[in-house]
Amino acid sequence: MLANFITKHKFNLSGLVLILPFVFFYQSLTPEFPPMWDKRVLGPFEVTIMPYNLDQPYSHHGVNVKDFMLFFNQDQVQTIRQAYVNIGSSALPVSEFHKFHEGILHGSRHGKEVHALAPEVITKQDQLWLTIENWQGETFLTSWPIPDSITQ
């Protein structure tokens, strides 16, 4: 019975793939993101951070990066001259970040994002480091432990 059905409709079966665009369209309208990490206060800045997914870093222009969204207290975000994120055992100096296009916070006042510089594989020993410099040249640093859902 089933074999007969499959034989009869063998060239129509691939059409079932077209159910997927409807599923993906629904998913795009109702996106789900990993939970936000704890809020950190560094100087005048209050920051929360959220990874876009729980995947390991990917290669972008030959550099390993992982994407995050950052939310700041609105009134202070305008005072950021430059801010950078990296994942590793320590924070990279700002001069090191200047060698890359990635790692710098970008976006609007309403939401910043970053392609954080990262090792090929994130381990339990790594932390996420956020370095902010304001327009007066003061530097602020904070870090988050990486949740087990991301580390290997």
Partner: protein, 389 residues
């Protein structure tokens, strides 16, 4: 010269298209709609129309940005897109209550005609056609590969079709479409006629489709086709802890590009996203075959220096192909008239996948009927033999 094995080529023709005929048909139909998606938007959404009853000249891009900033004082403008002259410009911004918004600004009157918070019909159709809305995993999408694979299938069907259709060129001189000799004859004639008359179109679609496949592999392998725009020097620290105003305004940056390229018209302008970023200004020039982003320049907001410049004059082969593929694939190479031609050819090849399947189906029915008759005959003969014995 040895005669081709027509039976084998016929089978190959079927293998190329039949197993995926529904997906192929869907990709063709969505592509056909995508070709005229700008015009459908104009027809269905009055807010998208750039009406210009007083025949005013278009306002500069920087002025459109100012108009949106005045209407939404807390907004941060991200980019500005210009389309055909009969469509509004799109000013993309974020705001307190808009994580992503598109302001439809009439470039002649300066009126904000709509603020769209989500998906546009144009982007939806492009995404549906190009990757079937499959998710992107950073630099690849299974759907994008699946659609690109259709280029191989199309090329295979085209070559095998030309082999099995003996003297196909006669269809150009004496096109035949027999209406009164049964459904099967009509469908077969229609399939062959559509195929011959859309030969050039099938070839263009498969070649550009093969390019998209190559491009997908480049993206997936993280091999850059176009160089990254370099970062610029950051402005000096300030006493008031606020960012200084940029030395070069957006309009000045666009004027710098226009000074270098007299025929330049901006189509996509991105404002700096951080303080080491530049104005990224893309547009079209007087090169007929190139897309609307053929000129891509970056201007340092601190110095006015052009820090990146990619134009048809300095593009390498891959970059040139990347910038001529879209106008050929989506038919906007010659404006509205080529879009209309592409739309009709799109309908032809969408129909060919259906007629191809119907031809195969009627053959299957015929074979099944023949087998049934044969079995009945054998049964009758056996019964006859039993009676005799």
């Amino acid at each position: 010269m040895a005669k081709p094995n027509y039976k084998l080529w016929f089978k190959l023709h079927g293998y190329c298209s039949l197993p995926i005929w529904i997906i192929f048909c869907f990709v063709c139909i969505t592509g056909t709609i995508a070709v005229v998606s700008h015009e459908l938007t104009w027809l269905t959404n009055p807010n998208s129309r750039a009406s210009n009853p007083e025949q005013l000249s278009a306002k500069p891009t920087a002025e459109l940005v100012q108009i949106v900033e005045s209407a939404y004082p807390t907004a941060d403008i991200n980019s500005v897109l210009a389309f055909e002259s009969y469509l509004v410009n799109a000013v993309i911004f974020t705001d307190k209550d808009h994580p992503f918004a598109i302001a439809y600004v009439n470039q002649y009157t300066g009126e904000i005609q709509e603020v769209n918070n989500g998906i546009t019909f144009i982007n939806f159709m492009r995404s549906l056609h190009s990757w079937l809305l499959f998710p992107w995993h950073v630099n690849f999408s299974v759907g994008y590969y699946l659609v690109c694979f259709m280029a191989l299938v199309m090329m295979g069907a085209l070559v095998t079709g030309l082999v099995i259709y003996k003297k196909f060129w006669r269809s150009f001189l004496t096109p035949t479409l027999r209406f009164h000799q049964g459904k099967k004859t009509f469908i077969t004639d229609l399939h062959k006629l559509s195929g011959v008359w859309s030969l050039w179109f099938l070839l263009l679609m498969s070649l550009t489709g093969l390019w998209y496949l190559v491009q997908a592999i480049y993206w997936h392998m993280d091999i850059e086709i176009e160089p990254e725009v370099p970062s610029v020097a950051i402005a000096k620290v300030t006493e008031n802890n606020q960012a200084p105003a940029p030395e070069v305004t957006l309009q000045q940056a666009i004027d710098i590009v226009k000074q270098k390229h007299a025929s330049f018209e901006p189509t996509y302008v991105m404002l700096p996203e951080h303080h080491r970023d530049s104005y990224k200004i893309m547009g079209r020039g007087d090169h007929v075959f190139y897309d609307e982003y053929a000129y891509s320049l970056a201007v340092d907001p601190g110095t006015g220096e052009v820090v990146h410049e990619l134009t048809p004059e300095n593009m390498n082969t891959l970059q040139t192909i990347a910038h001529i593929a879209d106008p050929i694939h989506f038919g906007y190479i010659g404006g509205l008239w080529t879009k209309i031609l592409w739309f009709f050819c799109g309908i032809l090849i969408s129909g060919m996948s259906i007629t191809g399947f119907l031809i195969w189906n009627s053959r299957q029915k015929k074979v099944a009927q023949r087998v049934k008759t044969q079995i009945n005959d054998e049964d009758t003969n056996l019964e006859g033999l039993n009676h005799v014995s």
